[in-house]
Amino acid sequence: MSGSGLIGAPLTRREDDRILRGETRYLDDITPSGALHAAFVRSPHAHAAITAVRVPADAAGVVAVLTAADLPAVAARYPVMEPRDSEVRAGEAHPVLAEGEVRYAGQPVAIVLAPSRALAEDGVELVDVEYEVREPVLAVRDSDLVMMGWSARRGDVAAAFAAAAHVVSGSYALPRLIAAPMEARGAIAEHDAAADVLTVWCSAQDTHRPLAQLAHILARPEHSVRVIVPDVGGAFGSKGVVAPEVAAVAAAALALGVPVKWTEDRLENLVGAYQGRGIEGDLELALDPEGRMLGLRARLWADLGGYLLTTTTVPPHTAGTLITGCYDIPAAEVQVRGVRTHRVPTGPYRGAGRPDAAYMIESLVDAAARATGIDRVTLRRRNLIRRFPYRTATGLEYDSGDFERCLDLALGLTGAPAGPRADTAGPAAGAVRGRGVAVFIERAGGAWETAEIALTPGGRFRVSSSSSPHGQGHDITFAQIAADRLRVPVDAVALRFGDSALTPAGVGTFGSRSVAQGGSAVALAADELVARARERVASLTGCDPAAVGHGAEGFSAGERTLSWAALAETVAEAAGAGGDPEPLEATARFQSANVFSSGAYVANVSIDGATGELSVERLAAVDDAGTVINPLLVHGQVLGGAVQALGECLTEEAIYDDAGQLRTGSFLDYSLLTAAEIPPIITGEVQTPSPLNPLGAKGAGEAGAVGTLAAVANAVTDALGGRVVAPPFTAEKLWRALGEGPAGSPPGPPVETTALPHTPSAATARRVRVLVRRGAPALALGLALGALAARGRR
């Protein structure tokens, strides 16, 4: 099919020039005339009953203060996804505004509308909310409220463990993470009463999921909601569900009959946007004397937060289904408990369950290598899945892959193994080194997308898709796919995204699915257009369609050649003559089961013996994303994912105090990496095409985030002589672990045992620092709202 060599061409994105010149149009660049600006009264408490909300009668500058009771347009709570074979308590769905109780600090309680955002924030301070504070549940194993349960079982697990020569166990935990896109969330809603169409401009990953969520919440037919997604400054999973604030903005626009705008600020984004990860697990692996895996037991606990948003249930289910990794494990028993806690809900964040599963199983396999004395690479080779399709014990069907080739390539890219570990640790010791190996698999693609393609004057093409971009580079990728099929220059193809009124129905952009699903739909639509054009040429020339040739010049029928431009002219001429020309257009829908990307990552690290500081010295990333359309973009995705995962390894962690208040509520405390912390990342590629779509494509959007954490974690454990430390691997944690010595050694004395005199000034400094710096944003919220709460309590 490929005549023009566009599949696999490293073309640059066409939007970069516009982005670099600052000519993008983000949500906050749009303000309809007469718009009111929204700010939110938020709960200062992690768990409380609301006993009264008192709105001042005459707040200067405030147009309206609305609570749940004042938004009749809100007909339902959030729609909630029920992953296959799971049990979901849909009654725990997130309300738009609080309904009598609050289940996390930062939960929206009331919306305040004013002519400017500053006035709206002033108005927020005037609303008195009376709370009856309740004890928050924060530890996942303490929660007895399971909002999502899932389990799978295959084979005789008890027999596998009874027959095992080795049983290895491990407990692992990943903290909550904040997606922190450069552009936070937000929306503008405007109701056209005459046409009864609600238009919502929304900073989102795609158009049709927000549309469906809003239509459900507002009980409106989908055709009466139009969602427009302007330029988006990143999402990383955090913009796949519309914010409760967005639904409130839509309901307020309906209630007041004026446009309403809300641009989320950084403080709101940190406390109120759904977070990622927040999962822990206990795993047990049974092996025979040669290290063949016989059975796996896994119990996972996921912190889902106070309520279910639409996709809150998905990441823990994904983690559970992928927990057997790349290994042929005949018997497995997996249980996932997604529990309610009094924190902001969790949801998809780059990887969304995939890094969680890879981290746990790959850590366990390294533990097995240490316990059995079998080399960790040998142990992996002995157990890798080698025949496809492969049905896992958890019910997935892996379509394709070549795990061992990925592993060999990654090992080759990292050079000679790291030197031996230093024998001594502690302040006097030098650096200790470690190397980590991980293989991983990720669920990608799945479900359906549609694409429309139309021939336009001049022999150009317009492709419309609802698999829309927020940084990935859909435009050039889809143009390459269409142009390759049409045998035209890539510049002849223009893409249209981001407006539900102008693009065909679709699912959206998430889960490494855009090329496999959206791209396949584009390919099929282009093929259909070629078929129709062939028929048109046949009818124009009186030739048999089968005899019409298609090439770089257009179409040939006998002696005649008709270019795409000439075909477009025939359509225009027929229209001008009052004829009834069929425009040359085609629509295609593509649906498939999940495809499975995979890869192998190897990390070399060193830990400063004196301070515990971790340096990732080298990372080799080998990915199998199937057939690659644009290697430049895949490379960018892998680097971006790896860098986000390095943040997870080194610094990132959403920390809550015992009262359920976020302590990392600003970028002073929630520490994102800078370019200075990024090690050399060497990428490699294996392409085993997926048999499930016409392109052979899989996915790459999350790969870097999946493989990096597992590889770096194993490298750290290797450096620590087998002692497992939970990410992030901070200097202090690693310094303490070095002081404790290798795993299996008795918990020795800490590095220093000298009791030093207590310095009151130092303690005071820490406290003040906590107040002023560490907890500043949470405190700002607490001060602004807690003071009012206190007033409300008399």
Binding site: E121, D122, P427, E677, A731, V751, E752, T759, S761, V768
Partner: protein, 265 residues
């Protein structure tokens, strides 16, 4: 993240600025790198914001009778570009390199960093190691404070209502003095969790100041005496870190001292 309402004044002379800050509800605005976030979080709620940026007489780096005089509104980035700072007080240049990122140093001022008195800030520690003196003025007059008189606690100084820090004076260091600044932070440009400033003129003078050992910059006389007496780096480091309460921070500070001393051997 919009500030609570406030009045705003932008005087163009020190005299006018001093009259405005005499208002009990006034807060001076220097580079705004700490105050503006605090305003936006509504943690600081001044009635009147007195913008010192037009007060050009507070800007400048000069040497008077061997003493380095830094106008309070001198941008932090200016220290990086100053030849006199590089020649006589390179510690200040080394410390400022660790302050945030270029955009922050371009706006942030030397006086603002001192008056804000963040316990994790680099400049107060470097200035403490250099025996700097702080010239403070109000409509009623002028006083000059030492570092230990000025820094009272985290984010707290001896500055009273109506007073402005106008100039920082750094005395000359003995010829041949070497100096170094080292710190530990999670990421490049982040606030330091621990840091050290070391000045050493063999046989003449030694100074060791710590960041992260308390709410204010801490000098460690025992370590300074040992350094002056020719003790090995490990011993100086051990003495310098001995009073640090938190064990990991103590280990980090000890390492930083050793590294700083290695750089100036």
């Amino acid at each position: 993240m919009k500030p609570a309402p406030f009045r705003y004044a932008a005087p163009d002379s020190l005299t006018a600025a001093l009259e405005l800050v005499a208002d009990e509800d006034a807060r001076p605005l220097a580079g705004g790198q700490s105050l503006v976030p605090l305003l936006n979080f509504r943690l600081a709620r001044p009635g009147l914001l007195v913008d010192l940026n037009p007060v050009t007489e507070l800007v400048g780096i000069e040497v008077r009778e061997g003493t380095l005089c830094l106008g309070a509104m001198t941008r932090q980035a200016a220290l990086l570009r100053s030849d006199v700072v590089a020649a006589g007080w390179p510690l200040l240049r080394d410390a400022v390199r660790h302050v945030g990122h270029a955009a922050i140093r371009n706006r942030g001022t030397v006086g603002g960093s001192v008056a804000h008195a963040d316990p994790a800030a680099e400049l107060p520690v470097a200035l403490t190691a250099l025996d700097a003196r702080f010239r403070i003025r109000s409509v009623h007059g002028e006083r000059v404070l030492s570092s230990d008189q000025l820094f009272c606690g985290a984010l707290t100084t001896a500055l009273q209502t109506g007073e402005l820090l106008v100039e920082i004076e750094v005395p000359p260091v003995p010829a041949g003095a070497r100096m170094a600044f080292a710190e530990h932070s999670r990421t490049h440009g982040d606030f330091a969790s621990a840091g050290v400033a070391v000045v050493h003129a063999p046989g003449e003078r030694a100074a060791v100041a710590l960041l992260g050992a308390g709410p204010v910059p801490v000098r460690v006389p025992a370590a300074e005496r040992a350094l002056l007496g020719g003790a090995p780096a490990a011993e100086v480091a051990g003495l310098a870190a001995a009073g640090v309460e938190h064990d990991h921070r103590r280990a980090v500070i000890r390492t930083l001292i050793v590294r700083a001393l290695e750089r100036i051997q």
